[in-house]
C-alpha cells in the first residue's frame, strides 16, 4: 500500500481540509481514508471539509455510505462536509441504485464547494462570537 502514487491526498487550506481521491478505492482503502480524514479534522481543528470524488469510477452502496458516514462523523467533530465532483454518470448510477448522499451537501466543483463552506462556516462562527 505504501508503494506507488498516493491514492488520496488530504490538504489543509486555512480552516478547511481538502481531501481528494485520486483513483478507484477498494473498501479497506475507503475505510482508511475515512479514519485519516476524521483524525486530521481534530489535528487541524478544521471547520470545513471538502471531499473531491471526481476521480472515483463508481460510487456504489458502500462508497456512498462511507461518504455519508464521513460527513456525519465530521459533523460530530464540528466540521461541515461538502462533497464535490460527482460525475454525471456516477450520479445517474447512484440514483438508479437507490443511493444518494442523504443530507450531505454537494457542490459541482471545488470552487463551488469552497464558496458554500465560506458562506456557512463564517456565518455560523459569526453567530457564535
Amino acid at each position: 500500500m505504501s508503494i506507488g502514487p498516493a491514492l488520496v491526498s488530504i490538504l489543509r487550506q486555512g480552516s478547511y481540509l481538502i481531501a481528494s481521491i485520486h483513483t478507484a478505492l477498494d473498501d479497506s482503502q475507503m475505510i482508511r481514508f475515512q479514519e485519516d480524514l476524521i483524525e486530521q479534522i481534530g489535528q487541524h481543528r478544521s471547520r470545513g471539509v471538502i471531499i473531491d470524488v471526481a476521480a472515483l469510477d463508481v460510487l456504489d452502496s458502500f462508497g456512498s455510505r462511507t461518504l455519508r458516514n464521513i460527513a456525519e462523523m465530521a459533523r460530530l467533530r464540528g466540521a461541515l462536509t461538502v462533497i464535490v465532483g460527482i460525475q454525471p454518470e456516477v450520479a445517474f448510477a447512484m440514483v438508479e441504485l437507490g443511493m444518494g448522499t442523504g443530507s450531505v451537501f454537494t457542490a459541482l466543483d471545488l470552487e463551488e464547494g469552497l464558496a458554500y463552506l465560506s458562506s456557512r462556516v463564517s456565518s455560523s462562527s459569526a453567530l457564535s462570537t
Partner: protein, 362 residues
C-alpha cells in the same frame, strides 16, 4: 455468395424453373435475415438454409405462395435459432466447472520445451505416465482406460486431471531448474494448478503464495490459465481489492462494444455490488463477464460463489433487506441497474447471479 447459393440449390432439385424461382427470392430472404441477424456468417447460413427448405417444399407450395412461404420459413429459422441460443445461455451456468479450463497452448509448449516436459514426466509414477500418454498421445478414451484398470471412466478422468495438474507444476519447476524451497510448495502449486479450491484451502495455498516468493511467481501462470479469450473476462474474487478489479474489468470489456459512459458506470456499479456480496457472504468466488451479440449486443455478468447460499431470494431482492451492516441495496440495486437479472441459489451450495445489460441503439 449468390453463385454459391445457386450451386447449393441445384443439389436439391433439378427442375430449372423452380430453381430460378427460388433464386429470385434470394435478395428478399437476405434482406429479412439481414435485418434481424447482425453476424454476416450466421446470416448467410440462415439464407442458405431457408432457400434449401423452400426449394425442397417448392412442389408442395401453391403457385404464387412461394414468397410468403419463404418469408415465414426465414422468420421461423431465425426465431428457433434465438430460442436455442437463449436456452443454451440460460442453462450454461449449470455446466460451469469452476476449475479453469485446460490451456490450448499446452501441446505447443510440449514441443517447444521438450526437455522440461521429459523431466516433468519423469516425476510422475509409471501408472500415471502410462495413463496420461495413452489418453493424450494415443487418444485412448477414458472408458477403455477404465476397463483396463478396473475403474470407472469418471475416476480415470479425475485421475487424468490430477496428473495434468502435477505435470504443469513439474514442468514449471523444470523450466526454473530448481527445487522448491519448502515441503509445502509442491502441494500448494498442485492445488493451484488443479484449480481445486477445497484442496487449496486445506494446504493454505493463499497464505503460502503470499509468503513464498517462488510460489508467487510460479502460481501466476497456473492461475491465469484459460484467460485468453478476447470477449470475456474472469476475475477471481477473494478480497476487497478484487471488487475494484472486477468492476474495472467489466467496464473495459463493455467499453469495447460502445456502451455509453453512463451505462459503463451503471454496469461497473452493479458488478461492484455483486463482487462485494461475494466477499461479504461467501469469502471467495468469481465474476465472469462476457460480451454477447444475440439477440442483441450487450454484456452479461455472472457472479458465482460456493458460499452458504441465500435462504430467501425474494427477501434478499427486497429493498432494505440486509444481513450485514449495510443498506440492503446490493441485490435489489444491481437488479435496478441492469436489464435482466436472475438469482440462482441453493443453501449450502452457493449462489449464481446472472445479469445482462443491453446496449442502447444509436
Amino acid at each position: 455468395m449468390p453463385k454459391f447459393g445457386a450451386h447449393r440449390t441445384s443439389d436439391v432439385s433439378d427442375a430449372p424453373e423452380e430453381r430460378s424461382e427460388v433464386a429470385a427470392l434470394m435478395p428478399m430472404v437476405r434482406r429479412i435475415v439481414g435485418a434481424r441477424v447482425s453476424d454476416r456468417a450466421a446470416a448467410d447460413d440462415l439464407v442458405q438454409e431457408t432457400l434449401v427448405r423452400v426449394l425442397a417444399a417448392a412442389d408442395r407450395v401453391q403457385p404464387g405462395m412461394l414468397e410468403p412461404y419463404a418469408i415465414r420459413t426465414a422468420r421461423n429459422l431465425i426465431a428457433s435459432g434465438w430460442k436455442e441460443q437463449d436456452r443454451h445461455k440460460r442453462n450454461q451456468h449449470r455446466l460451469v466447472d469452476l476449475r479453469p479450463p485446460a490451456a490450448p497452448d499446452e501441446e505447443m509448449l510440449q514441443r517447444e520445451e521438450h526437455d522440461a516436459i521429459a523431466q516433468a514426466l519423469a516425476h510422475l509414477s509409471d501408472q500415471e505416465r502410462q495413463t496420461l500418454l495413452a489418453h493424450e498421445v494415443s487418444g485412448q478414451d477414458t472408458r477403455s482406460l477404465a476397463l483396463e484398470q478396473g475403474s470407472t471412466a469418471g475416476a480415470v478422468a479425475a485421475e487424468l486431471n490430477r496428473t495434468r495438474a502435477r505435470l504443469r507444476v513439474e514442468y514449471l519447476l523444470a523450466l526454473e531448474g530448481t527445487e522448491p524451497p519448502t515441503d509445502r510448495c509442491r502441494p500448494v502449486l498442485r492445488a493451484l494448478s488443479s484449480g481445486d479450491r477445497r484442496r487449496q484451502r486445506e494446504v493454505g495455498a493463499d497464505l503460502h503464495v503470499l509468503e513464498c516468493a517462488m510460489c508467487a511467481r510460479l502460481s501466476e501462470p497456473l492461475i491465469r490459465r484459460g484467460q485468453q479469450r478476447e470477449d470475456e473476462v474472469r476475475i477471481r474474487i477473494t478480497a476487497d481489492g478484487d471488487i475494484v478489479l472486477a468492476r474495472q474489468g467489466a467496464r473495459e470489456l463493455a467499453d469495447r462494444i460502445g456502451f455509453s459512459r453512463t451505462d459503463l458506470t451503471v454496469i461497473a456499479t452493479a458488478v461492484s455490488e455483486l463482487a462485494r456480496n461475494i466477499v461479504r457472504f461467501a469469502g471467495e468466488g468469481e465474476i465472469f463477464v462476457e460480451l454477447i451479440e444475440m439477440p442483441r449486443c450487450g454484456v452479461r455478468v455472472v457472479a458465482r460463489d460456493a458460499g452458504p447460499g441465500i435462504a430467501d431470494v425474494e427477501q434478499a431482492l427486497a429493498d432494505g433487506f440486509s444481513t450485514y451492516h449495510g443498506l440492503g441495496l446490493g441485490l435489489p440495486g444491481a437488479r435496478r441497474l441492469m436489464d435482466e437479472f436472475t438469482v440462482d441459489s441453493e443453501m449450502g451450495r452457493g449462489t449464481t447471479v446472472t445479469m445482462t445489460k443491453w446496449r442502447q441503439k444509436g
